[in-house]
């Protein structure tokens, strides 16, 4: 970037002036409320809308109240929490790395988080010290990010980052499978699918309270990245000249991503592609400003994951699909299309 300081600042403020994210966020928020209410109506036992409304208000029979409050509500809230985490961190990573293919699932952060969580759960550490589960996920995510930086180097191109991500993802997956095969519980080997594909089946409020403090802390850190990300669209030098400390921005990004993705993965397993798709869908609506994309991406991620979590319960009630199956079926073709589009833009 060879732009001088004045022109950079002018361009920067010009971009910031485009559109307003508030109506978009309000619309997404309303949609999120609607799909979340709809998700309360889905499950192996048929419960009418009136009964669900009554149960939410403290009425209905004891069984219906337990099903709505202890099974379906925490599930919907967890889908919101995990979806928002993936959407937000995808948007932040794409903005900071200026790489349209970056997202926690593809670049290995999710799979190393899963490995960290698996290590604490199946060795019994999480049984004696409950916080070990999210902390294990966060530590795993941190190790994943550090490995990624070592493999891809600073200022890596789009493709070398993705290649390094593939390495970290497959190593994380292989080690997860290894740990589960060696775990003493005979169920562990069957649970490989959960950790590699993700699910919210039979989760409870306990899981929500366990992860939420960490994911919320991560969200707050990522939310502070709005202005530096906008400045970074003009290049690192310009952003630095506008007064942003890039190293400090990177630290906030790494910590924020590790906190929210680590804790969410420890509860729900690895869910791929969501963080890739959501920012791309919403980017045109915010005038291609990465800072303005953060909140809509979080909301959009939550909406998509709640929808995915409804869809996995529909085809085979009682024997539901894994979330990662669905997100990959939708996200995989999207990823291919993105690569094709990206290549055609290269000279």
């Amino acid at each position: 970037m060879t732009m001088d300081r004045g022109a950079g600042a002018a361009a920067f403020s010009g971009i910031r002036g485009l559109g307003s994210p508030a109506p978009l966020a309000a619309a997404l928020g309303a949609a999120l409320v609607v799909v979340s209410l709809a998700s309360l109506g889905v499950g192996p036992s048929a419960i009418g809308a009136a009964d669900i409304a009554a149960a939410l208000g403290g009425g209905a029979s004891a069984e219906v109240r337990v099903i709505v409050w202890e099974l379906r509500l925490p599930r919907a809230l967890l889908a919101i929490m995990v979806g928002a985490t993936l959407g937000l961190s995808g948007a932040a990573l794409q903005g900071f790395l200026r790489n349209p293919l970056a997202e926690p699932g593809l670049i290995g952060i999710s799979s190393s988080a899963a490995l960290g969580a698996v290590l604490t759960l199946y060795t019994g550490i999480a049984a004696t010290f409950t916080l070990a589960l999210p902390l294990g996920g966060i530590a795993g995510a941190m190790v994943g990010v550090i490995l990624l930086q070592l493999l891809a180097g600073r200022g890596a191109g789009a493709l070398s980052l993705i290649l390094a991500g593939i390495v970290v993802t497959s190593m994380g997956g292989a080690l997860t499978a290894l740990v589960l095969n060696l775990a003493p519980s005979p169920f562990a080997a069957l649970e490989i699918v959960f950790w590699l594909m993700g699910s919210l089946a039979d989760r409870s409020f306990d899981h929500l309270w366990l992860a939420l403090p960490f994911t919320a802390a991560g969200w707050l850190l990522l939310a502070t990245l709005g202005r530096p990300l906008d400045a970074l669209t003009l290049g690192e030098d310009t952003a630095r000249s506008l007064g942003f400390d890039i190293r400090q921005v990177r630290t906030r990004l790494v910590l924020g991503t590790a906190l929210c993705v680590g804790a969410a993965t420890a509860i729900a397993g690895t869910i791929g592609f969501l963080g890739l798709v959501v920012p791309h869908l919403l980017r045109p609506l915010v005038g291609h400003r990465p800072g303005a994309l953060l909140l809509p991406s979080a909301l959009g991620g939550a909406i998509l994951l709640v929808l995915a979590d409804i869809a996995v319960r529909l085809p085979f009630p009682g024997n539901e699909l894994k979330l990662g199956v669905l997100t990959a079926l939708v996200g995989g073709p999207f990823f291919l299309w993105l690569i094709a589009a990206y290549r055609s833009r290269l000279p």
Partner: protein
């Protein structure tokens, strides 16, 4: 029980390699004669249920090998008695070197193993999985005849049927309304129609909630449906629950606690319910006591 069998790794992917190894071994160790002797002295068992039937028939001294599950207290009710015996993991290689004159396998035992052993001329007797109480005397008779102890078997069958009659005497007729009982283990695994655990619940005068939900054999029942069924008796199985896993964590879900308030919940040793041996009588007797308690409480309320 199919769950128990699943825990055993099948050597399916390496059948070819194993076949070669076995052929080589077969050349070194000449095969035994294919017909079992009338009174076999070197009995090998490949299934945790046949392990226990053999031990109950008092044949410990004639066993050359039982499964590793037989010595595991979380899988076998007779782990103490199996201690000191040579343990196998259901693989042909382990069995060949012992030169058994009778091999007993369960119907869910790794079948390539059974086929290999048969081809090499070892007498293999397959004892089918018990899925009803009537299968228990049948399996006792099969095993007792195979080992040349028909009289001992007949005696055990008579004792079993006598105890069963005594335990269930005076229970209301099967047509009368029955309280619902539901068995649930890690991962929501339950037992419905045509399962031994279902037969135990039935025999003790309960309606099996899992069968009512349409489950056949052993399979998953979602937590929502467990709650919807609201059983008078919730039977929590400890199946393989001694190590942490997500599957085991489902039994600690707060939703279960929310719906069992005021109802009876018991914890069972799953292995007693998993094999068709006379040991299931203990499980039936325990449930019958609970059933009579529920009846007495209902009479008390009416009064």
């Amino acid at each position: 029980m199919s769950i128990v069998a699943k825990g055993r790794r099948r050597p399916g992917h390496s059948v070819a390699a194993l076949a070669l190894a076995v052929l080589a071994l077969g050349l070194i160790f000449p095969p035994a004669s294919s017909a079992a002797p009338a009174n076999p002295r070197r009995i090998a068992s490949l299934n945790v249920c046949t392990d226990q039937l053999l031990l109950l028939l008092g044949l410990r001294a004639r066993l050359v090998s039982v499964t590793f599950l037989a010595a595991d207290p979380s899988s076998s009710a007779l782990a103490e008695r199996a201690r000191g015996l040579r343990l196998n993991r259901g693989r042909a290689e382990e069995i060949l070197t012992l030169k058994p004159d009778l091999v007993l396998a369960g119907s869910t035992a790794a079948s390539p193993t059974v086929q290999l052993l048969r081809r090499l001329g070892y007498p293999v007797r397959v004892v089918p999985l018990a899925i009803a109480l009537a299968d228990i005397p049948r399996n006792i008779a099969t095993v007792a005849r195979a080992v040349g102890e028909a009289a001992r078997g007949a005696e055990m069958i008579a004792r079993f049927q006598d105890s069963l009659r005594r335990i269930t005497a005076g229970l209301p007729a099967p047509e009368a309304p029955r309280p619902t009982a539901l068995l649930i283990g890690p991962n929501g695994i339950s037992s419905g129609h045509r399962s031994l655990a279902g037969a135990i619940i039935d025999a003790a005068g309960f309606a099996n909630g899992a069968a009512g939900l349409g489950l056949a054999g052993v399979g998953r029942v979602p937590l929502e449906l467990v709650i919807r069924t609201r059983p008078q008796l919730l039977i929590l199985s400890n199946l393989k629950a001694d190590h942490p896993s997500l599957a085991v964590a489902t039994l600690a879900h707060p939703a279960l606690a929310g719906v069992t308030a005021g109802r009876t919940t018991i914890r069972i040793q799953h292995h007693v319910w998993a094999c068709g041996t006379p040991l299931v009588l203990d499980a039936i007797a325990r449930l019958v006591r609970i059933r009579r308690g529920i009846d007495a409480a209902a009479r008390g309320e009416r009064r």
